[in-house]
Amino acid sequence: MIEDEIEQSQSLAGSSKNTGFAGEEDIEGQSTPAKDLGSACVIAVLAITVAVMSVRLDVPGSVYTAPGLLPFMTSLSLFLMAIFLGLRAMRAGGAAHFVGGAWRAITRYIAEYQGRRSLLLIVIVVIYVILVGSISFDLRMPTPLFVFRLSSYEVISIGVITLIMKLYWKAPLARCFFVSLISIEVLASIFRYGFAIIMPESF
């Protein structure tokens, strides 16, 4: 627990130093030395992997036009940046109880209310995208005025968006369904009739 407090205070100290421009929102406040050290390790491994893959690429012409030239240079410089990031994180105390701290951070994220809600949302979004990509139908029902069309994208979207609204907006189910139905149908109509774009996985 003491390490957590130290970590948090280091993070706060880091962000409070930026009294002026902080860049894209307050992302500096998000980082801690332990997180930076973890990121540095992952980035270094990624950089080495890409460097090796770049060297193994075919070289049809001169070395100056080798397809792997810039990827190699980029991954090499990315590796150096990861080393600098790691060293800086270690200097700031990121190495102390790194493994235990990382595990604690993950368990804390899962235990927290927001963390659990984030994970649930990620699972729903992943399932939604996979469902739209795998289920394919396009119903056409002629009416006296026009041909009413309903694709798998609309049906799945209405269901999933209703669920997300029920979980996060917390309005009555009927209201969530109604808002979802209207918005998805308006969106689909704009794309289908306005811009002549077919719905995903429809035909």
Partner: protein, 498 residues
Amino acid sequence: MDVWLQVQEQLLFIAQTPMLWVACLSGVTLGILWGAMPGLSTTMAMTLLIGLTVGMPQAVAIIFMIGVYTGSVFGGAISAVLVNIPGTPDAVPTMVEGYALAKRGEGGLALGTAISASFVGNWVGIVLLISFIPAVLFFALQFRSWEMFLLSLWGIAICGSMSSMGSPLKGWISGWLGLLVSFVGLDAIHGVSRFSFGSYNLDDGVSFIPVLIGLFGLAEILRVLPQKSPPSIPSDVGRVLPSIGTLVKYLRPSLRSGLIGTVIGAIPGAGANVASFFSYDVGRRRAGQEEKKKWGKGSYEAIVCSEVANNANVGGSMLPTLALGIPGNAAAAAVLAALELKNVVVGPLIQTENPGLIFYIYIGLIIANFFMYGMAIALLKPCVKLFSLPKTLLMPLILPICVLGAFAVNLNYFDVYVMLISGLIGYILHLLGFPLAPVVLAVILGPLADENLRRALLVFEDVGILTVLWERKLGTVLLFVVLYTFYDGIFKRGKTGT
């Protein structure tokens, strides 16, 4: 024929044809609405709306596309300011500043400033181009492979520094990760498949639009929606248009940003993204001490710098498109496609083969600019009302737009998976304190940097370094600028990092 005679002739033609005014207004309105939808870009608007021009006469089609172009560039600022999701990558600086203001209940004035800045930016771009066409063209032609590579590299570096000022290293890492993504697919010179693991979809490369939608759209949904009480913007619009005094106060940064936007727009391939970030950076450096403190926390001057530059870029990007047949950016490439659809062959002979067309296009830009100003003001209050709905209601509705937006780029569902993965990575990067803007910019500029570096190295194969430095003076200046950007980040700003 005398230039002014041609201008008068085009003015008279447009004034006497009401259909052109209707087409322009429709284009501007559609462009603003498209750009205002979170994650849907100018390029997509241009590409998809080309289809509507098929049945239109040549003059109507051209002015319609100009309207879409002008409207959608501004439209990106609406969702950037009100929902923290930029319509286009060049709206990212506006997003950083505008959303901070919107949370304080100044969303109306932030957008009003963006509208006025966009209006001024368009004017600066048009006036500068009409006045200095030969000079700008000469300068733009000095950018060859070596200079284009350095310009791309500098764009990514400056974006990295700007989006993570306390720790430029993390901004650069984000940019470099974006570069790695941009290398996926067949390489442009030999057609060798790179990092595609046998996937035909990956052989085509990773399109930047799904990446943009994922990083800024999906990641924002994943970040904001689970919060116990997500931040929302006040529905009270407040004052919208800035006072004349405020506009006069920002006259100098406006002119400077307009110049930057126009010149960068005239450089083939550079685009509004580089212009917007560069102008934002220059603006911060030149700002007074008091204003500098507001930078990143809601600065009106920063919005002026970014919006003037990306709108001046519209006029600038049209010059190489029309005069050289080389589009200034992806959206200008769509204009080129629309022109070719109407049998207009652009290039050095455009004035001979289509006399007066350049002037028609610039008059079209001026008219579109006025319509953009009017429509933006008319649509502003409803947009603020819409986006001030609870985030728990708004964010789920954006999710299907993200899916449809990513799919609509190539009508390929693989892009939706790219959007999903980009969103998840964006969420993790945000949790770890890495900025997202450099990733997108690098995905856009990566292929440009890659191709131009290898071309330049081939040209310089038997030439000594000193000769290159001496003979390519513009490149040498750019090289020092790139090196200074890294020096500044490491030794000046880096010292204040965590």
